[in-house]
């Protein structure tokens, strides 16, 4: 029997309305953690989370931190920049785990996170980037703890908080102790040399572009581990910004002589494989660079693994700095 057109249209409309209502996640209730809980203070407020989470999803800076801390991960975002610094064990875990988000926060796959059935989600992105993530949608899956980076050197505190939230402090503290031991030994080794020298660092991150260079001061990515060995990167940014811009700046290449004139030693960032990034290569090839006192004195040293954001990876940075700065012990 033919169905009248009006009835078919009405039926279709009812179906569409029903589907739209079913798909609306905005009204979803936040997921309640099961078992023992505690209140954890994060960038997104005081969050009730499980005392001992069993299934954790991590994104951004939380990925390397929680891999290293041995947290019970069931899903992670990709984290290409950290791969060269990962231990074989962490790298195997990284490869094995389901990828629930890409490199950027906008690439978060909510369905994949839901399928992982986490009881805690740890978001490791800077506060401004949180706007790219639908936190309500994530909260409907599991409690969400946002713990993002502020100053580059603050990875120490940040990774501890992330490990704490995921209930993985025991392994974290072991790795941290190993780093502290290593850097103490190295600081003792260089005690008679590094504190007497004025350091400057040529970086490779952020807004490096044609015609400028990145100068990093104390507390920046390229400097903070070398500081633990006793190096002091003198000076400070001209115009203080937030985050990494509080400890690094991007002057014109014209200012290279005045920026590095007083430096006894200049360190510069290289890639994990030792190759020189394009922005750094531009400066090293400049005639202005060749006229710097530290360059003329041969006191320029490449630093690898300057993107370290965990104690485990920072041990590789410390080793690389030790290898690079060793000539200072004999000069």
């Amino acid at each position: 029997m033919p169905v009248p057109t009006l009835a078919r249209v009405t039926g279709a409309l009812v179906l569409i309305v029903g589907l739209v209502a079913g798909c609306d996640s905005g009204a979803a209730e936040p997921a309640a953690p099961s078992g023992a809980t505690r209140v954890f203070t994060a960038d997104n407020g005081d969050i009730t989370i499980p005392v001992a989470p069993k299934r954790v999803v991590a994104t951004g800076y939380a990925v390397p931190a929680l891999l290293e801390a041995g947290a019970p991960l069931v899903g992670i975002s990709t984290w290409q920049r950290g791969l060269p610094m990962m231990s074989a064990k962490d790298r195997a875990a990284y490869d094995r785990l389901a990828k629930v988000a890409g490199e950027s926060a906008a690439e978060t796959n909510y369905e994949a996170i839901a399928q992982a059935e986490p009881d805690l989600i740890v978001i490791g992105v800077p506060k401004p980037v949180l706007a790219d993530i639908d936190l309500d949608r994530l909260r409907a899956i599991a409690p969400v703890v946002a713990l993002g980076p502020s100053l580059p050197s603050a990875w120490r505190d940040l990774s501890r908080k992330q490990a704490d939230a995921a209930g993985a402090l025991a392994t974290f503290d072991t790795v941290r102790a190993a780093y502290v031991d290593k850097t103490k030994q190295l600081a003792a080794k260089y005690a008679g040399v590094l504190p007497k020298l004025k350091f400057a660092h040529l970086g490779a991150y952020g807004e490096v572009a044609n015609g400028n260079f990145q100068r990093e001061f104390n507390g920046s990515w390229g400097t903070n581990v070398a500081q633990d060995l006793g190096a002091n990167y003198y000076g400070e940014v001209k115009v203080k910004g937030t985050g990494s811009k509080a400890v690094s700046e991007y002057p014109s290449i014209e200012e290279l002589p005045s920026a590095f004139a007083a430096a006894d030693v200049i360190t510069y960032t290289v890639s994990a494989d030792g190759s020189v990034p394009k922005g750094v290569r531009y400066v090293l090839d400049s005639e202005l660079w060749k006229g710097l006192p530290a360059v003329k004195a041969g006191k320029i040293y490449p630093l690898r693994y300057t993107e370290a954001a965990t104690y485990g990876s920072a041990m590789a940075t410390a080793d690389a700095a030790d290898q690079a700065l060793a000539p200072l012990l004999t000069s």
């Binding site: 290409q80 044609n210 400028n212 001209k238 115009v239 394009k278 202005l288 006229g291």
Partner: protein
């Protein structure tokens, strides 16, 4: 209904010559300022010493190795883009045309993107060759498909640009390393280009400028319309092909060494038209002087606008050029082609 436009009143030759001399003096003055001003303050006496009696100081290096090559680059790129703009507006008879409309810029960007993915952009020379190859290839395709008429040419250029932009964007989004390499080139800037091999592209620009001057009289006939040009005995197809070759060399070389600086090729012909009227030879002469002035002024601005670092010159040309263009159009009305 047919609208008949009266031929634009052409300024007298004496007036044009006088204004050209004034423009050349301004160009010389701006070039001096460009060598003297920058992020690092250097006293005028030290600038002169750096140029004529260098002693190897940091200031000498800044003037001789950063500012002087940069000023030279601005003159070459500005002249190339300005004259390319005149040529493309003349052969397309479209006042909104600029060299990028023929796919030159997107062709170069496409080649840089693919070259980055293949690891061919590690050196300045590699980047330069890729950009030139991309520009030439794009223009050859546009010419092969759209040579029938100016409208077809422009539409082909727009269509090819859209396709190449889409493919380039997709590649860059899929490959973060390529995106990172591309961003260095993509922001049109004269900063940091001083280490690139400049001799060959500047030589090519010089030769193409001479070619533009030689072709400009025949283009005067084409500017009157295809039918009139044919009745005057002009070989329209050959003239248009010659102009396309010159546009490709000028815009391709300029884009290869400085990245995409889109606005200069659009604004300069309009500014030149205020004084030159509809005469193509005078338009070419004025564009070859006004282009460098615009780029040098913008470049000086790009160095001093921020407390640290620089603004890419392409941003400054847009901010400086757009109001100038609007002012010119409002003050004088759009001059007919």
């Amino acid at each position: 209904m047919t609208t008949v436009h009266a031929a634009p009143a052409r300024p007298r030759s004496g007036t044009r010559r006088a204004w050209l001399v004034v423009a050349l003096v301004v160009l010389a003055a701006v070039a001096v300022v460009s060598v003297g001003v920058g992020a690092h303050a250097i006293a005028p006496a030290a600038v002169l010493r750096a140029l004529f009696a260098p002693t190897g100081t940091g200031d000498d290096a800044v003037v001789r190795h950063i500012r002087a090559p940069r000023a030279l680059l601005a003159v070459g790129v500005g002249a190339a883009l300005g004259v390319a703009g005149v040529l493309v507006q003349t052969i397309s008879r479209n006042p909104l045309a600029e060299p990028g409309i023929l796919g030159v810029t997107t062709g170069a960007g496409f080649a840089i993107t693919l070259g980055s993915a293949a690891g061919l952009t590690a050196t300045g020379a590699g980047e330069l060759m890729l950009a030139v190859a991309g520009s030439v290839l794009a223009t050859v395709i546009v010419h092969a498909v759209g040579r029938g008429s100016p409208l077809r040419l422009v539409l082909t250029g727009v269509a090819l640009s859209a396709v190449l932009s889409g493919v380039s964007l997709g590649t860059r989004l899929l490959l973060p390393d390529v995106f990172d390499a591309y961003r260095f080139w993509a922001v049109g800037s004269l900063a940091g280009r001083e280490q690139s091999p400049m001799l060959l592209p500047l030589l090519a620009i010089g030769l193409a400028l001479v070619g533009a001057v030689l072709l400009s009289r025949q283009l005067d006939a084409v500017a009157l319309g295809e039918t009139v040009a044919r009745s005057l005995g002009a070989n329209v197809v050959a003239i248009r092909a010659g102009a396309l070759v010159l546009i490709t060399v000028l815009a391709g070389a300029a884009t290869a060494i400085a990245g995409p600086i889109l606005f200069v090729g659009l604004i300069v012909p309009h500014l030149a038209r205020r004084v030159a009227g509809g005469s193509v030879p005078w338009l070419v002469a004025y564009a070859a002087v006004l282009g460098p002035i615009l780029l040098l002024v913008s470049d000086v601005g790009s160095r001093v606008l921020l407390p640290t670092g620089e603004v890419p010159v392409a941003f400054v040309t847009a901010f400086l050029g757009a109001p100038v263009l609007i002012w010119a159009v409002r003050r004088y009305g759009a001059a007919p082609l």
